[in-house]
């Protein structure tokens, strides 16, 4: 659907002719995304990787431009959706007459406050860009779990946001401080200390008091995925770089030689039973010695330490002998500290009946795997091995719950593996990490599927539905991808009617339902 010339001209006036397009050559391409093929099947729309085509794509360059665009959307009754780096189906539009705000031009690191340990960023600053700049100052950040190439702002404000370094850096919601937010009405809301009335004190340093704390409303657990306006700037927490702050990389892709900085060590462990693994992860995290501590399946382990399909195939037998691996990474700022952590880990492995595969030279990660861990690139290896993968479940709770969920999921997944819908991982494919040194744990279940095969995709969709149902039935935690009206209507009544409250938030902030509710919730029941 095209926009009226008057509306288009008004938008063009704001961003300039170079930064708006309603040409099919542009809009059709913005209709595509990874995972849309699953979504379409889920919604009975047939097998296609294309979602609804946006009416136009707009590239605002500042908060002021975003605000003007949103106000024009309200004036001309145009729907809108904003995205940053745009990875995943939730970056597509769900309704006709919707424009996409591609925030690519807003790519500034506004401020790095070394003293107060925060960085202020715009939407198109990626995790790796931010980390590279912080590294020069000996600092680090929580890296987006989706990969270093995605927006750190989007991860902080609008998505779940776990990551490989969650033992230390928590998940995205725990890292967001001051926020600048263009509401669906076009008003600007500033959260946390940024929202203080007194200009002498209004700053980015906290997301909660002093100042309005609306973090739960802004994003909650999963984020509104573009359903609540546009986040234009955000401050996120900083941490000391976990080891010697050096980044020396030479050579060429994919065999980069990364000089491993001082005081950082991988230790890949293996446990014979889930019970032992569960106990070990808890005990290790109690000691607060790990920068990274996560469980993955033997297949997952093979994937993250290989850079080619053939490499994976050649080595997979080695990994298949393993039972329940745990990948840990120790980091420190001195020899004494790393020695202590090594000793502590060795003692814990001994105590919990594990086997340290790295010490026994069975799994010795290459230098580049250290870089990938620090930069949060390990998860992306899943795409190299299969053609695509997607996660299910996604609970955030105790290790016991995660462990129960992992074990309960095996027979379900095996059924779809047997149907040849999913890649075979003995049903064990899981990624389970601690947040904040065991304060709580998170588990999700990556499954490999072939996105070019309708059979595989349909199998994946059915499997995802069954996983969500299992979460309800077994009282596991809230699943990842309960998004959109239909899903909320289905799961809300089973979960304290949260959907009623979610809708009230939407109604209050977006009475005209302008901000795309496709991956959030609509203002009115059954609307669109």
């Amino acid at each position: 659907m095209t926009l009226e010339p008057e509306a288009y001209a008004a938008l063009e006036q704001v961003v300039g002719p170079e930064n708006i397009s309603a040409k099919e050559a542009v809009t059709q391409v913005y209709g595509y995304n990874w995972g849309v093929e699953l979504l379409n099947l889920q919604q009975g729309k047939g097998f296609s990787p294309f979602a609804t085509t946006p009416a136009a794509v707009v590239l605002p360059g500042s908060t002021a431009e975003v605000q003007q665009v949103v106000r024009l959307c309200n004036r001309y009754e145009i729907n809108f959706k904003a995205f940053s780096t745009g990875f995943g189906p939730w970056n597509t539009v769900s309704r006709p007459r919707t424009i996409l705000l591609d925030l690519r031009r807003m790519n500034h690191i506004v401020e790095i406050d070394e003293k107060n340990l925060h960085v202020v960023i715009e939407p198109y600053v990626t995790g790796s860009q931010m980390q590279a700049e912080l590294l020069r100052r000996g600092l680090n950040c929580h890296m987006p779990g989706a990969g270093p190439q995605v927006s750190a702002l989007a991860s902080s404000t609008s998505m779940a946001g776990p990551g490989f370094t969650s033992p230390v850096t928590g998940y995205a919601a725990r890292n967001v401080l001051g926020v600048e937010w263009v509401l669906p009405t076009g008003d600007i809301l500033r959260l946390g200390s940024l929202g203080l009335q007194d200009p002498d004190h209004a700053d980015w340093y906290t997301g909660d008091g002093p100042g309005p704390s609306l973090r739960g409303i802004m994003r909650g657990f999963m984020g509104a995925m573009g359903g609540l306006g546009v986040f234009t700037r955000v401050a996120v927490k900083l941490y000391p770089f976990p080891c010697t702050p050096k980044w020396e990389v030479e050579g060429n892709s994919p065999d980069f030689a990364f000089r491993v900085p001082d005081f950082i060590r991988y230790h890949v462990l293996d446990y014979k039973t889930y019970e032992a693994m569960d106990a070990a992860m808890r005990k290790i995290e109690e000691e607060e010695i790990c920068f990274m501590c996560f469980h993955t399946s033997p297949y997952g382990l093979g994937a993250i330490f290989n850079h080619s399909v053939w490499g994976f195939v050649k080595q997979i037998l080695k990994y298949l002998f393993l039972k329940h691996p745990v990948v840990t990474m120790l980091t420190a700022h001195s020899q004494r500290e790393i020695d202590y952590k090594e000793k502590a880990l060795a003692a814990l492995v001994n105590e919990t009946g594990g086997r340290d595969l790295t010490t026994h030279k069975q799994v010795v990660p290459r230098g580049v795997s250290y870089a990938e861990a620090l930069r949060c690139l390990l998860g992306f290896h899943g795409f190299l091995i299969g053609t695509s993968f997607q996660s299910t479940h996604g609970g955030l709770e105790t290790m016991t719950m995660c462990s129960n969920m992992i074990q309960a999921n095996i027979p379900l997944k095996k059924a779809y593996i047997k149907q040849k819908a999913l890649g075979p991982d003995k049903g064990q494919g899981a990624w389970c990490t601690s947040y904040e040194h065991g304060h709580f744990f998170h588990a999700e279940f990556p499954a490999m599927y072939d996105q070019t095969s309708e059979t595989s995709c349909q199998g994946m969709v059915d499997y995802m539905d069954k996983c969500d149902e299992m979460d309800l039935r077994e009282h596991f935690a809230s699943p990842f991808f309960v998004v959109g009206d239909k899903m909320h209507e289905k799961y809300g009544p089973e979960c304290t009617n949260y959907h009623v409250w979610l809708r009230k938030i939407k109604e209050a902030l977006d009475p005209q339902n302008r901000s795309d509710p496709g991956f959030y919730i609509s203002s009115k029941v059954n609307q669109e």
Partner: protein, 427 residues
């Protein structure tokens, strides 16, 4: 079997694009600053996702799905790309897609349907067909640059394939190359009237048929003379011979870029640079010498789907990931020149930023070409270098345009010129 590079053959592959945006940046583990973290000049300049490697994969899928036709807007997307292959390297760090192949297939399809190439490309293709160079210069003048003091050996087993840009526009490179070869005592010849444009400018904009004729002519001309080694000072010619000619025909002669040949001569002590050049120098990797210069290996085999989702090529297919390009030889030459201190740009070797001239961009979209070269010159200047060295006459033109435009103090030299300076002084 390996695709013959028709768009249809890439449908499945295009359907696997993750739209992850890795193609917009240098490989993630190599990023050292925000400023120099990007790899794709096209998306850097035009911002809409279409103008990225992934965007063009999706464009291909849209065409294959009849969602798009080759409209002027689509053609604009297809041709505002330098075909530098940066997206390809970044994508293949952790994936098996072929963005560069798909972009080339899009162009070939555009030509096949009559929608491409751009008008200016059509003009130069005609010139190539008429006078064997895209500049429309007289074919008889192709070797007018040859200095009287350079002696050719008619039946030598070594030929210098000069290329159109060195022959007509960057004669200093041709002259320096010939003089360095002579200084080393290399007996070499040239193809004379039989040297035609290598066909790179024709192929890059999608005219596969015209290219094939040219490739066959040049291969035959070289083989008829019994030439065993062909030396090229143009990265574009080099990549065209090493990669694209091999798709057209098997040939027996060996292809060297001047940087490789000079590095060998230096190692064998046939060249001994003596005159010190006390300067800080940085080296720009031409895309077609570096990542796109990685040799093409013909693959015959089968693709097996195992474990439901894993596609395995048997025997293993060589995935061109840019790691086997020509990176060290030019650096070895620089290091042999007394006084020169080599400092690297942040984006180097397989993830070097493009100069902006390739893929028909310099002729069709000169502003875009200049936008890109200015970006690269800024990065070169940031190293503290006084001299920017590269190894391609096309890069030479565009980088010098940026230096001139910016009023920059950076000096530019081809690898042959800097070596000759150290051998002879002056040059």
């Amino acid at each position: 079997m390996e695709p013959t590079r028709t768009l249809e053959e890439y449908r499945q592959l295009a359907s696997r694009c993750l739209r992850c945006s890795l193609c917009k940046f240098i490989p993630q583990v190599a990023i050292k600053s925000q400023e120099f973290s990007t790899i794709c000049p096209s998306i850097d300049r035009y911002n809409f996702h279409n103008y990225s490697g992934g965007g063009r994969l999706i464009t291909a899928l849209c065409i294959l799905s009849n969602k798009l036709q080759f409209s002027p807007d689509v053609v604009d997307v297809v041709y505002k790309c330098t075909e530098c292959g940066g997206c390809d390297v970044s994508c293949k760090y952790l994936n098996t897609l072929e963005p560069l192949e798909v972009i080339q297939a899009l162009r070939e399809k555009a030509v096949e349907t009559g929608a491409g190439p751009m008008l200016v490309h059509k003009v130069y293709i005609q010139k190539v067909q008429e006078v064997h160079n895209p500049y429309g210069e007289k074919h008889g003048q192709r070797f007018a640059w040859l200095p009287d003091d350079v002696k050719l050996s008619e039946n030598a087993p070594v030929a210098y394939f000069v290329g159109c840009t060195s022959a007509y526009r960057r004669k200093e490179i041709a002259i320096a190359t010939a003089r360095v070869l002579q200084a080393a005592g290399v007996r070499f010849t040239i193809l004379g009237e039989d040297e035609f444009c290598c066909g790179s400018p024709v192929l890059r904009v999608g005219d596969k048929k015209a290219f094939t004729d040219i490739a066959r002519h040049n291969i035959q001309a070289i083989q008829q003379r019994g030439i065993k080694q062909v030396i090229m000072s143009c990265a574009g010619c080099f990549s065209t011979f090493c990669v694209e000619y091999k798709r057209v025909a098997n040939y027996k002669f060996k292809v060297f870029h001047t940087s490789q040949y000079f590095a060998r001569l230096l190692k064998e002590k046939k060249l001994i640079p003596k005159i010190a050049i006390p300067k800080i120098v940085t080296y720009h990797d031409p895309c077609h010498l570096g990542r796109c210069g990685e040799p093409y290996k013909r693959w015959r085999g089968i693709t097996l789907k195992i474990l439901t989702v894993i596609k395995l090529t048997i025997p293993p297919k060589h995935l061109r990931r840019g790691q086997h390009g020509v990176y060290q030889p030019p650096r070895d030459v620089i290091r042999q020149v007394p006084g020169l201190k080599l400092v690297e740009m942040e984006r180097n070797q397989g993830y070097a930023y493009c100069c902006g001239a390739g893929g028909g961009v310099k002729s069709a979209f000169p502003d875009f070409a200049l936008f890109t070269s200015k970006n690269r010159v800024k990065e070169a200047k940031r190293t503290g270098a006084e001299i920017l060295v590269s190894a391609c006459p096309f890069c030479a033109t565009n980088l010098q345009d940026a230096i001139r435009e910016e009023g920059n103090t950076l000096q530019y030299h081809d690898i042959s010129e800097i070596l000759l300076k150290s051998l002879q002084g002056g040059a």
